[in-house]
Amino acid sequence: MKVLELFNVHKVYNTTHVEVHAVNDVCLEFEEGEFAAIVGPSGSGKTTLLNMIGGLDMPTEGRILVNSTDLSTLKSSAIIDFRMRNIGFVFQSYNLIPVLTAKENIEFIMNLQKWPRKKRDKRTMELLKAVGLEDRVDSRPAQLSGGQQQRVAVARALASKPRFVLADEPTANLDTKSTENLLDIMEKLNREENITFIFSTHDARVVKKARRVITLEDGKVVSDEIRE
């Protein structure tokens, strides 16, 4: 089942002096349960692509269908709502709400979706266990290490069982051990919950773990290999 389709997607930035073709004619498809890495040097258009997939930004040309829905046809508040129900996000850093505890951060989207308390608690504890932080339930982000924070962010992204999770360089600020740990957790959850993960990186160790590697160069897809 296709969760995501990109048809001839372009993104052109018109700066005062030059036109930057950040994403250039990208066509891609993602199936349910994929664990895909988007790689490429800095400036190759990874972030721009992920932002457009997540509905944070709109292509200047081409179409993106998420779950068969074209986000460019929705109002901005409807896009936000769509994201809440279908897409999980993990950013490079400062993902978490500083005034909420680990548990409250994970619960946040379930709260927005008005899940009943019991169901919410069960899911939160399940995820905290999965990311190995069951003993840090009531810690605030400032009391957690960078790796732990990213694990909470992954748990939050998965909390309401979205169609897929987008992660823009989630390990960029982590040491080797935390990076591996986070990737293992992501992969485990990907298998257990059958949720698609699409993450960008330029770290070879991270690329190694991916089951599909899409390489970008100057906004163009130069290779797309599936390994198993």
Partner: protein, 470 residues
């Protein structure tokens, strides 16, 4: 997590800033309330002084008298008119007056004065001239006699400062000379012994006068001396009379004290060849609340026709009303400036709160939080800060004002002297809790709510891609 709960947590992300902002709101509210109370209270007391010592709240006069205060514009003291006035449900009694001008002389000096014919008994309802009779006078002899006893140093200094002054009550003397409560018991008998003045009151038919203290001093008159009054009487006659001074009076309005001579009303009528005539009837009210006064004024106005005119206290004291109105406006401008400063402070906080959370906003919108909900959290945060400040301001201002209401501020002796020379009573009174409490708190609340428009607009226009990058 509910908006209000998240807002409460956000508030304590930067404790110091929250406390500083709430404090600035607190100070604004506190000062505004205390300043308003003081200002309005002082006006009230000045109005009260002039109303109670001179005009009363309402007067009935001949329709031409106010514009042209000559003895020809008088009216007959008729029972019919009295009854018409006292028939009103808020009127307790009517106090007759005969007011005119004369030239007063005492041998070497003379001065234009206001002659006020009063009913010695009825007048007690309003200005109570008997109670205003001078009780103590700090003559040089009195001061040196008191100094020969053992007295505290501050009293020596203050007596020198106020030498020549006179007082109609123990309280006034104690306040002006700064006599400490502990010293009262042993100092007051000294004043009783050396500085007390024997004064008498008069009755109807007495060929006697009571004279304002300042006027008496100017004319060099004392109790028992004779004052000569010459003026223009009814229908072209010449008024002339000689009266024995029975008492010297202190009036809380220095301007009036400088020109007042009281006579029994019948004696005054004789002086002006106007037996049975009055220049005004002062209406004594049961309820002297602002609304009650206005309503009574309206009723009397429609019930009593020409050739009479009904005057309210504002009309009769127009200069003072205008003066205090102008002062009031400058007070309001001061508070406006205070608010402006506070508004910038509050706005600065809002600005920082919004700027430093830009990325967080971006992340929250990305993961699916609606902008309206986020703006809601911001509004709650500002509401808490505002409420915290306003409630604290009201909570502290309330007891301060209640205390001040019961203990008016009397200027320290040195300032009092200067103040009195300018013709003001050296007292600052507080007004009781009134509408200004609500209006001042409301203004501050509005400032806070206006400040919150900024983040709300900012959030509405936020582009999540850009915010996340920041």
């Amino acid at each position: 997590m509910k908006n209000y709960k998240m807002a409460w947590r956000n508030l304590w992300r930067n404790k110091r800033r929250t406390v500083i902002t709430a404090s600035s709101v607190f100070f604004a509210v506190f000062f505004a309330l205390v300043m308003r109370s003081l200002q309005l209270g002082t006006y009230d007391s000045m109005y009260k002084n002039i109303i109670e010592s001179y005009s009363g709240y309402i007067q009935v006069q001949d329709e031409d008298f106010w514009e042209n205060k000559i003895v020809d514009n008088v009216f007959k003291n008729s029972e019919e008119l009295r009854e018409k006035i006292t028939a009103d449900r808020n009127v307790e009694d009517v106090i007759p007056r005969f007011e005119s001008f004369a030239l007063a002389s005492s041998g070497s000096r003379s001065k234009g004065v206001m002659v006020m014919g009063i009913d010695p008994e009825k007048e007690k309802l309003l200005s109570d001239v008997e109670d205003k009779l001078v009780k103590y006078r700090l003559t040089d002899e009195a001061i040196s006699a008191i100094k020969s006893e053992e007295i505290p140093a501050y009293l020596e200094k203050n007596m020198d400062l106020f030498h020549g002054n006179s007082y109609s009550s123990d309280g006034r003397l104690q306040i002006e000379l700064g006599i400490k409560e502990n010293d009262e018991e042993y100092l007051m008998p000294l004043f009783e012994k050396y500085a007390s003045v024997k004064n008498g009151y008069f009755s109807m038919g007495d060929n006697a006068a009571l004279v304002g203290d300042r006027l008496a001093r100017y004319l060099g008159l004392e109790r028992g001396d004779t004052i000569i009054l010459v003026g223009q009487a009814y229908h072209g006659h010449t008024a002339a009379g000689k009266y024995v001074i029975k008492g010297i009076v202190k009036i809380p309005n220095p301007d009036i004290e400088n020109k007042i001579v009281y006579l029994p009303v019948d004696v005054c009528q004789t002086l002006y060849y106007a037996d049975g005539m009055l220049t005004s009837m002062v209406v004594h009210l049961m309820d002297d609340d602002d609304d009650a006064i206005n309503n009574t004024l309206k009723r009397l106005d429609s019930n009593i026709e020409s050739p009479y005119r009904i005057l309210g206290w504002k009309e009769m004291n127009e200069t003072l009303v205008q003066q205090l109105d102008a002062d009031n406006k400058s007070g309001i401008i001061m508070i406006g400036i205070l608010y402006l400063v506070i508004a910038f402070g509050v706005f600065g906080t809002v600005l920082m709160m919004t700027a430093e959370r830009r990325r967080e906003f971006g992340v929250l919108i990305a993961i699916g939080m609606q902008k309206t909900k986020m703006a809601g959290v911001m509004v709650y945060e500002m509401l808490y800060i505002g409420l915290l400040g306003i409630l604290a301001g009201v909570a502290i201002a309330l007891p301060s004002i209640i205390y001040g209401y019961h203990h008016p501020i009397h200027f320290p002796s040195k300032f009092a002297k200067i103040w009195e020379e300018y013709g003001f009573e050296p007292v600052m009174a507080f007004q009781w809790i009134d509408k200004y409490f609500l209006s001042q708190s409301l203004v501050v609340a509005i400032i806070v709510l206006v400040a919150v428009i900024y983040p709300v607009v900012k959030i509405r226009n936020l582009k999540e891609v850009n915010a996340i990058k920041a």
